[in-house]
Amino acid sequence: MANVIVAGYGIICAIGNDASAVLKSLKEGQTGIGPMRYLQSSHKELPVGEVKLSNEEMKQMLGLDKEAIISRTALMGAIAIRQALEHAQLTLKGKRVVVISGTTVGGMDMTERYFKGPSAELEEALRKHDCGSSTRQMANLAGLVDAEVCTVSTACSSAVNAIILGSEMLKRGEADIVIAGGTEALSMFHLNGFNSLMILDKAQCRPFDKTRTGLNLGEGAAFLVLTHTLVKSKELRVKNNSNNLERKSSSNPSLFTLHSSVYIRGYANRCDAFHQTASSENGEGAFLAMTDALKMAGLRPEDISYINAHGTGTPNNDASESEAIRRVFADNIPPVSSTKGFTGHTTSASGAIETVICILALQNNFLPANLGWKEQDEACITPLGNEELRMKNEEFATARNILCNSFGFGGNDSAVVIGKSSLPDFSSKEQPLLKRRGQEAFSPSLNLKSFPSGEDLGEATTCVLGEAVIDDVEQLGELREFVTAGEARRMGKLMKAATITSMRALRQAGVERPDAIITATAYGMLETSERFLTDMVENGEEMLSPTLFMQSTHNTIGSALAIRLKCHGYNITYSQGADSFRWALRDAKRLIETGKAKTVLVGQHDEATPMMQHFCRLMGCPVPPMLYSRSIVLSRKT
């Protein structure tokens, strides 16, 4: 098994437009949260962590026409990827390159801007609205036209799950170079959604503080260039000896000299399986993610020198995470801080932004502060106070391992361990599984015809134990066989269909609880998202429905299934257009072949709305069906 090495990284967020600027802000304790400047929302009372560039300025940086309709999500992502590639200086030619991005918002910022028209602009925005198209566009803007792209969408843990997927692909020899991370622009849609959940603080957020009342939203992107030690060889050595990069990064040469010694040592993706928008009191999902990430890294709790907490600043998250940290570390809790007081909560991008912050900390021997903390809350751990930083920094110079937590709605909890030293290096005997495909066309269509049929699944290692399909709303009658009236009342048609097909496939398979749940969806619960968006655009940014918003994240279906099945295992959602299901199947096979899961529930769930069908006709795209849900239970072939 090969080691996964960080060959380079790029970052853009509220505290800086590149790694040097971010490092400077972190060291100086300078927050990036402030009054709203770029987002066109009426909620000016809410402080946000914006990237300090207009869309036009970003387009200029990327050499693009300033009139072009391009989502801020794609713009920030392309900037971070370009930085990361420049930093890594690897030759991509002839290599199998995969771009994996975590996002939920995708092109929503442009869709909401043009939702009322003009029609041509709205069409252009809709073409790149979904996460998959947004990621494809971002990769193209970064010059990676030939790379395969994938989008992971597990709400606020998306980017860490992208890093986990990339690491797994490298270890299995499925790719030579992976560019993994996440990007998320602020949008009125999710600002209002979080506001409807009443978890936004009107002052600067104070993670773990007794007086905390919520989070501040932020935005940004960060990407890591990952490769495995097997291909590091010449290229990395040459890079380390060159003066080139040091000259480029004159503000802090040390930033670029040690990066090849940072490894992704361990990680885990687990599910809290508790509630759609709240964390359990004992932080079970977080506990399992941290415990299993340490186990994979081969480390004991006392080997961790710093924890970058998820620490959003909501009363619920910080108490739950504190409990989970106490359960893992007992009396040996290392220094902990949440850096969301610097960046705001950058939602789907946060896992990558905070991983880069951890790498900067490790390479530059400093601990990031927990801005805003003053008063101890008995329910919470004590984060790093400013006065302790200097002393701790001296001890920290010998640090080798850092744990970074990243949790999301629906209890999609993940953790990653990065380290300075490496695990023993075994040479890989596995054959590459990946074939490069051409560039996918932008299309909002679900392209159901391209889904693999049952026969495609009958490969050497895996078999299908159960399967169920629903493609008509008339088939939702048997829902009540599986759920109570109380449970059914919030379900849209897609959630109903996904629940029925999943339960039927599991019943047929004779599996009560699968080891892992993998969901594929191009648009998620489009009907509820569209209702929320329509309400917001037509009636203004007040009195919006939290029920509609909480179902708008793509991982809603997968996490609802986990809650129903009490499944704390691996849980991920792919949102890469018509390719989503393929990615989901590949992941399921990977889990089964590596012995990480015996049974995996895999589903493809998508729905259309009349509006979506109307636009597909207008744009000459194939018109997707109103409802499609397919669930299969995969297992190892015996």
Binding site: S196, M198, G486, E542
Partner: protein, 86 residues
């Protein structure tokens, strides 16, 4: 007061999509959030807060304030009676 209670029952039933709960069975004194009552949860609290603002012009900034108010339909009605702006 009885009219307001009936209006609220209808509005809550509609906004929370309580299809199978008939208005006759919807006891104005039944606990809304306990398991033995109507069985609502924290997201329903947020929806009822939106409802109160839309229908009666009442703004609740903190869901925690709502605990005593949201005990039952009757307690909500009493609060609305005292605080309504429309």
């Amino acid at each position: 007061m009885e009219q307001l209670i009936n209006d609220l029952k209808q509005q809550i039933k509609e906004v929370l999509n309580l299809e199978e709960l008939s208005l006759e069975d919807f006891d104005a004194d039944a606990p809304l959030f306990a398991d033995e009552g109507i069985g609502l949860d924290s997201i329903d609290v947020l929806e009822i807060i939106v409802l109160l603002e839309k229908q009666y012009g009442i703004r609740l900034a903190n869901p925690k304030e709502g605990k005593a108010i949201f005990k039952s339909v009757r307690t909500i009605a009493e609060y609305v009676q005292a605080n309504r702006k429309k």
